[in-house]
Amino acid sequence: MNGLLVLPIAIPLITATLALLFRKNSFLQRLIGVTGMAALLVSVLFIFRDVHTDGIQVLQLGNWAAPFGITLVADMLAMLMLGITAIMGVVVAIYSIYDIDRERERFGYYPLLNILIMGVNGSFLTGDIFNLYVWFEVMLIASFTLLALGNSKNQLQGALKYVFINLFSSLMFLFGVAMLYGMTGSLNMADLALRLPEVENTGLVTTVAMIFMVSFGIKAAVFPLFFWLPASYHTPPVAISAIFGGLLTKVGVYALIRVFTLLFVNDTGYTHTILLWVGGFTMVIGVLGAASHMEFRKILSFHIVSQIGYMIMGLAFNTAMGVMGAIFYVLHNILAKSNLFLISGIAQRLLGTFELKKMGGLYRHYPFLAVLFLISAFALAGFPPLSGFWAKLSLVKAGLSIEQYVITGVAILVGLLTLFSMTKIWLSAFWGKVPDEVPDHFGKQPLFGAGSLYILMIPVMIIAGLIILIGLNAQPLLEFCMTAAEQLLNPSVYIEAVLGPQ
């Protein structure tokens, strides 16, 4: 029992409530927003310490023993995800101070952001499959509203696609949960892991596994279910794009990792082969989509899809090395991808557009911004000594060690193509000539000091710093990811932590 476990859910809820009460005062809202996220980060660090020293931590909500009540479980994977969520929360809250307008603040931007984070944290912590569904819905309703907030034409268009496909995927998820309940009579994931191997009709278990794969696949935006993502993620304000692009799809990936290491491991020859194909296609199709677009945020959106492929590939290898690589990739990707989104927002503020053809001259006038972009872009493509290198290296090593040469080759090739489309952004927005029509302040507005964009720069610098830090000193994080992977591939530890010694 560890009472702290409820804090990552309770703190955003309290923050949301306070922000909602003071929704007319934008200064207080911003203060509450940033403080709440910082408090969340601190609480996560405390739990992380416990998990690191004492292993998996468990909390039975309302004192109802598992498998009857709802259990919160913090294993290493959940903690790493919570940690990155809290970091993203802090930087996005800071970025929002400048990026989000008064209108959106009055309509409840900060409460919604916190509810979103609460949903994400709940999904990571819960040990109950129906509760996971509930947290997904909490996250969804907040994300729907954040996406549609503002009501401009293309926001509505993006929101329509996003809302309907995600509603459908939630219903698939619920149906899968119903099937699981019908087969085993339990909803607690640890209990399910014990009971599923005893189900006689193994074909049915595999069918349910596929239902879950489709449902989470839609959320994670894997091939061939990704089409809604590039159609919607480039429409809201940049702060929202960043948290969506960085975090939300990764919750789908987390759910896939969780159920395909804990629950559906009876027929890995079938399910994990499909995952491998899905991962491969996702990588290739995503990066090709990125290569064919000329809008800053659309390119980034297609890259999200492409990068998801790597994570799925790591999961599909189903070895400690592969899963570790996948987890490391998730963490690194959240940082790099969000940072690129945040930088795109700064570029848009300077140049007034996201269209690469109308951008240019950023390198000449804002060399520091260009350096920050290079760090994130190279990290994404996997250059040493940045975080992405270690992520790709461990995945490639994992692939070679189980002799999956083809997909490993594809992964390396996709890395090159990633670099190609990053170069495209670099060539036009940064190296390109200053376009004929630029806003008056272009080249004059400094990045720091009075009248500058320094509030937008702080988060970008924090993340770039983290990317370099992870790149130069990857060992601790790699070890954490290894612990997480070992816990995942040895579910008995998880089961024992939840249900007690068997």
Partner: protein, 133 residues
Amino acid sequence: MDTLLPIIAGAIFATGIYLLLRRSLILTIIGIILISNSVNLALFSLGRISSENPPLIAAGSLEPMAPFANPLPQALILTAIVIGFGLLAFALALAYRSYRELGTVDQDELLQDAEDTSAAILPKNGSKEGGNA
């Protein structure tokens, strides 16, 4: 009941899928509502239906009279219905807003490619100081 309910659930699901594929936004929403209900029905029938005592504890006793029905599926469905209700309220409001903004409920017309996306973002820092953007 054990065979009838799954069949009904399946039929409703199929109807929902059919409506989901139509071009009108309103029909799509109705499709989602139908699928949501069929999933709830499936959840209900997968929880096993039995005619036993209600799982309520009578005054003075400590446990319900055995054999009592399983209350969990109903609790799950209630949760699912409440969530579905919230989401559908949002979907309807969104559809209405889209209709007002774009003047049509035909999805082909609704989802035609938008113009320059940067127009969606409120320009510059003006909104901060300027108050009402």
